[in-house]
Symmetry: C2
Subunit: 410 residues, 2 copies
């Protein structure tokens, strides 16, 4: 049985294109939505145990097919009993298609992810060292059938197609899996984005036809960059296909306004009975904007990546908050700061440790620093989505959002 979605929004507050309180039911348990899914790229949410994730109340995770395909290998994961058994996490897991990393990892930044038709460097020694590749090199080449790319680990050559991506995700055994698509760069022009969109749509049909396990739910991905007509075309094409759920991917524009527009062009036209995932978004303000428009789930590496560099997430009106939405605990002023990260936070870290101690742990390069700050950051996002769920149930989401931004987003 693939997943089901129930809309639990009280009728009195329910309106199309507005926030919704939902429940995604999978064979491995439910995800009450809206919800944020932390990312465990290599089948581990970095610096956290599954027990810590469960204690915080994490309902689901996202793991990356690309990384797991390269190491330990999808077949090795299957031999270990599948992703859930392997990583000791028995609640829902989402895997991506592997396409995004195949395109982006190692592709020279100057070219942008979208300009992937460039020279494939062949087997010369220089190109075989991904860490030292020259500007202008690219490690991925996309064609109508799939993508050929080089491993970020050893430079070896590999290939993903829609069929192989679904087959890999079947071996991994996640509950929620993603269609293989091309994620275009914000720098890609309209012509390339349109050509890529058509290809993504042809791949979508192939993904749906590929064999998958009955319990796996397949998400179609809506692309189209920051172009309203392409986003509309994506909606028209993809909503006619028998997906179990839908995700919004690709370039969400270069400004917050474009990001909001992409959501506005897309979400109101999605069928209400399918879960809606927004790929790669995890800043507090963005979660609010996504939920306000009817997104159910999000995933992003930032809470845990920020944590390991001493950046702890706090609300917009919080004293000392940076533009990234964080305090940087490496700052010398925290050396003598004997309060918790956030006195209103109920996480293990805020209940037990001073900023001064965390500052000291980072200065001492102690592993515990990243763990404690990851616990805080994931908790901060999950506290926020919990508040959102309660507010939607009570018809007070707009008040929560207003209160949250009462000093304006920084």
């Amino acid at each position: 049985m693939p997943c089901t979605f129930e809309d639990l929004t009280p009728l009195a507050w329910s309106r199309p294109g507005g926030p919704r309180r939902g429940r995604i039911t999978t064979t491995r348990g439910v995800i009450e939505t809206p919800e944020f899914l932390p990312v465990g790229t290599r089948a581990t949410v970095k610096a956290m145990t599954p027990a810590q994730l469960a204690e915080i109340g994490v309902q689901g995770l996202l793991a990356n097919t690309y990384h797991l395909y390269l190491r330990p290998g999808a077949e090795a994961v299957r031999k270990m009993g599948g992703l859930h058994t392997m990583m000791g996490w028995h609640r829902p897991i989402m895997t991506d298609s592997g396409g995004f990393q195949a395109f982006s990892l190692g592709a020279a930044k100057e070219q942008g992810v979208g300009k992937l038709g460039g020279v494939f460097p062949g087997k010369n020694k220089e190109a075989a060292r991904p860490k030292s590749h020259k500007s202008g090199d690219t490690l991925a080449k996309v064609d109508d059938d799939g993508v050929t790319f080089r491993s970020y680990i050893d430079g070896s050559t590999h290939r993903f197609t829609p069929e192989s991506s679904i087959a890999l995700q079947r071996l991994l055994g996640a509950d929620l899996i993603l269609a293989f698509d091309e994620c275009t760069s914000p720098l890609a022009g309209k012509e390339y984005t349109e050509m890529s969109l058509e290809r993504t749509h042809r791949w979508a049909v192939r993904c749906l036809e590929a064999p998958r396990d009955p319990h796996q739910s397949l998400y179609g991905i809506l692309q189209g960059g920051a172009y309203p007509d392409l986003r509309q075309r994506a909606v028209e094409f993809m909503t006619k296909l028998p997906w179990d759920a839908l995700a919004i991917g690709g370039s969400l524009g270069e400004t917050k306004e474009e990001f909001h527009s992409v959501l506005d062009w897309t979400i109101p036209h999605l069928p209400p009975h399918l879960p809606r995932h927004l790929l790669g978004i995890g800043e507090m303000e963005d979660l609010f904007e996504g939920v306000a428009r009817g997104i159910d789930t999000f995933d992003c590496v930032i809470p845990t990546r920020f944590a390991r560099t001493a950046n702890v997430m706090v609300r917009p009106h919080f004293p000392g908050r940076s533009r990234r939405g964080t305090l940087n605990l490496r700052n010398a002023k925290y050396k003598q700061d004997f309060g918790p990260i956030d006195p209103d936070c109920s996480c293990y870290t805020c209940r037990n440790f001073h900023r001064s101690y965390l500052n000291y742990l980072f200065a001492s390069k102690e592993i515990l620093a990243g763990t404690l700050c990851s616990i805080h950051n994931v908790t901060a996002l999950l506290d926020l989505t919990r508040q959102m769920r309660e507010a939607i149930e009570q018809g007070t989401f707009q008040e929560l959002k207003r209160e949250y931004f009462r000093h304006g987003p920084t």
Copy 2:
């Protein structure tokens, strides 16, 4: 109130110089003995949260005065509410005197810890870079009043005396504190060891006279190297002083036989009403030998240090066990090994993760690898001491030891 010790060994099994089942009561809780105390050098047991330590059943920790003195500073620890509040650990903590690291860290290995009367390098730039110091340099100089040493962090010059060590430990606020002593090297000759022992004894008196908090229990340290007459002199001198507890320190010889002899020369002559700590010992076989002779507590970095290098502790008869008492999970054979580290271990790691996954986490340099293996190693030692306590209660300690070594120590 300093700590108290109760001997809970059933009368039927109690004999001088034999194993004892005890209870050390401090103002921050009890330690049922025999017990192993994990080391949190910099006020963190590396890669583990205090919650994880508590869940395993850790009863007490040891933290290092030298490291905390240099960073964040003892006064900074006091401002953070003392060690317990700072590190979120509210059960007993032991601190060492700082002397051992002051002598040993940075002292050239060729010289040995004991030969500390060497040239103090002064303030030339070369010597000020501890990481690149030349062979033959030493960063510590001991005199009759104390030790002058260089920081391993920045090469700056510092000094410890018996009085300053006790004052530092007072600021840190541990429950169990150690007298300032000189720990001689196994390479030190008898003449130096004897001279050093006399100095340690003069320092002992000064430590006892220095002001300390009433709840802090002061351990006297028995030195004397591997020389029976010096060990005897240490016992005679130290047991006449009003210590709250005693610890055996210094060189324990170069072979297991010498180690056992040092214990045999010392423990039978110690007053039965004082807790007995054995410094820096943490291998399973050594815990058995220590407990068999009446040691109550141990501390050592090895379970957590081993863990971070993929060495997991297993019992002597365990297939594949190395001379160090471990399996190295980086070994390629574990890549396809779908069992737990130890099927008889009940730790979180063994209940939830395969060796293959741990092998993969180490290959991927994931932080979780060290955390999961630390959980296992600390659990392994605590399971062993729990079995020892039960066996002493039931009069079956010798059977447990025999069973444990049934294929002989490797």
